[in-house]
Symmetry: C2
């Protein structure tokens, strides 16, 4: 299925929004692309980069007459943004989001979406630790998962249209319940980010406590964590505030396992350690085999870093 | 300072040993390079790849007549290996290691090293999650830190020779006490690996508990962790068994910080989360500025993965 829009609006032209705009442009999927961003700098960059034709401060101005609206703001702003621009939408329009949390978004948007507006909750699972329209790129989504979380009230044809957009971006699209999405993402994305944020802060404190350089010796493990812990603070604050229960449940399980390994280290129980590490190495191979490790994207990022 | 050896022996021709052999070869630093490995497959690969001229099962055969011996076995095998080949060494030889733990190695080797053998404890902080001679490459060490931990008994000219080798490999060489090295590495490398190992196991358990796919949706955070958790199980078992106290101390600090963030999530305290995440983003920038993030190496790894 291919889709074409007379006008597509992207509310929030950051990393994800601007990458999506680049996809729509590259595939010739929209006659016009408008964008909305609160900061004048972001609007200027989005227009200068050619990712949107026109950029507005007020989302209502960007979404007027649009056939489809992509809400690409941080999770905490999605419901209010949708409520604010709702009166400006034309009838029959599709509104979809890219939020990393779904149950809260579904619950918060339900009371504000007009009956003649078709809302499709979606989460393209892609990103880098960078923010802003200048860091977007058309290949960002290639080979990644996009999870749609329609409810029984969601219009089926709108779901198919949104699916077609993300497939055009190169994503593998699946549907699941908002609750299942949130549990999967708590473990696969939110908890790893929380842990990376934690340890980088721990290292910073230790450096201050001891008055000696530590972080300059960042080795393989820690360096990877700093990259994750460099992700957008507001976006991630909102994720933890909106996926609280699933994150806390995963965190509890993680802490139990960490305690098992802590005890093995204290007791110098090499067998428990080696068995655990052997199991995780096998899982690593499974992830590679499942092609979830994607050199192409990372190469682009590295190329970008060299500039 | 440039150095040249008539014969260099590398005991343990895995990722690090074979990469070092490639450096010695590429820089023309040794007339002959011998290797030792327990497994016949590894010996065959090391010779077939041309990284060593001859490979032996018994380290004593490899080190005979060598001017310098690099012990590149897992940490837990270093002291015993050194003790075993000690009688075969010629007088005045330099023996150095690449172990990721230093205080234990210094303590364990002290009683077994002959007075006419010059032992230099060293740790080139480099590596990938892969093992084996086929995964080594000459650029592995470029731009990374190598930490030497000489004691008052260590021969100064031997330290300078070892320094020259690692500088020839492209490393930035620093000296510090074994104890300080172990504290720095506990935080920068050992704890991140422990955490990555833990969470990958947690995910595996959750998948089994719920009977539903989770790991196939591996997103940015988790995918990075699986790479770290794919590192060699025996090498990492030995690290935790030999740097116990420093790792447990860092782990305690990490758990305290994790509890602070856990409480902030439970109480939906967005300010604490955002402040923490903003601080870690700044640290990320400092790490990049310190050039500890090294695209060149990672590019090579990615290239390798594509094969």
């Amino acid at each position: 299925m291919t889709v074409h829009f007379h006008k597509a609006a992207i509310v929030g032209v950051g990393l994800i929004g601007s990458s999506l705009a680049r996809v729509l442009r590259a595939r010739g999927m929209a006659d016009e692309i408008t964008g909305a961003a609160r900061s004048e700098k972001t609007r200027g960059a989005a227009v200068a980069l050619g990712v949107v034709d026109r950029a507005f401060e007020n989302p209502a101005d960007a979404v007027a007459d649009a056939d489809i609206v992509f809400v690409c703001t941080p999770v905490g702003a999605i419901a209010q943004t949708v409520a604010d621009f709702m009166p400006a939408l034309k009838s029959g329009v599709i509104v979809t989001d890219v939020g990393s949390v779904k149950a809260e978004i579904v619950a918060q948007t339900a009371p504000v979406v007009r009956p003649d507006v078709r809302f499709v909750p979606a989460h393209p699972v892609a990103g880098t630790e960078k923010s802003g329209p200048e860091n977007g790129f058309v290949e960002l989504f290639e080979g990644r998962w996009c999870i749609l979380t329609p409810t029984e009230k969601t219009d089926a044809s709108a779901v198919e249209t949104v699916r077609a957009v993300w497939e055009a971006a190169g994503m593998k699209v699946e549907e699941m319940s908002p609750e299942r999405h949130d549990r999967v993402m708590a473990l696969m994305s939110h908890l790893p980010h929380l842990i990376a944020y934690t340890i980088v802060g721990t290292a910073d404190d230790m450096e201050k406590d001891t008055g000696a350089d530590v972080i300059k010796y960042a080795a393989g493990g820690f360096r990877d964590f700093t990259r994750i812990a460099g992700s957008d603070p507001v976006m991630w604050r909102d994720i933890f505030l909106n996926n609280t229960d699933a994150v806390l449940d995963c965190l509890q399980r993680f802490c139990e396992d960490l305690t098992v390994l802590q005890k093995a280290i204290r007791r110098r129980d090499g067998r428990t350690l080696q068995d655990w590490f052997t199991r995780t190495r096998r899982i690593r191979r499974e992830v590679i085999d499942a092609r979830q490790d994607q050199p192409e994207n990372e190469k682009l990022l590295l190329k970008d870093k060299k500039k």
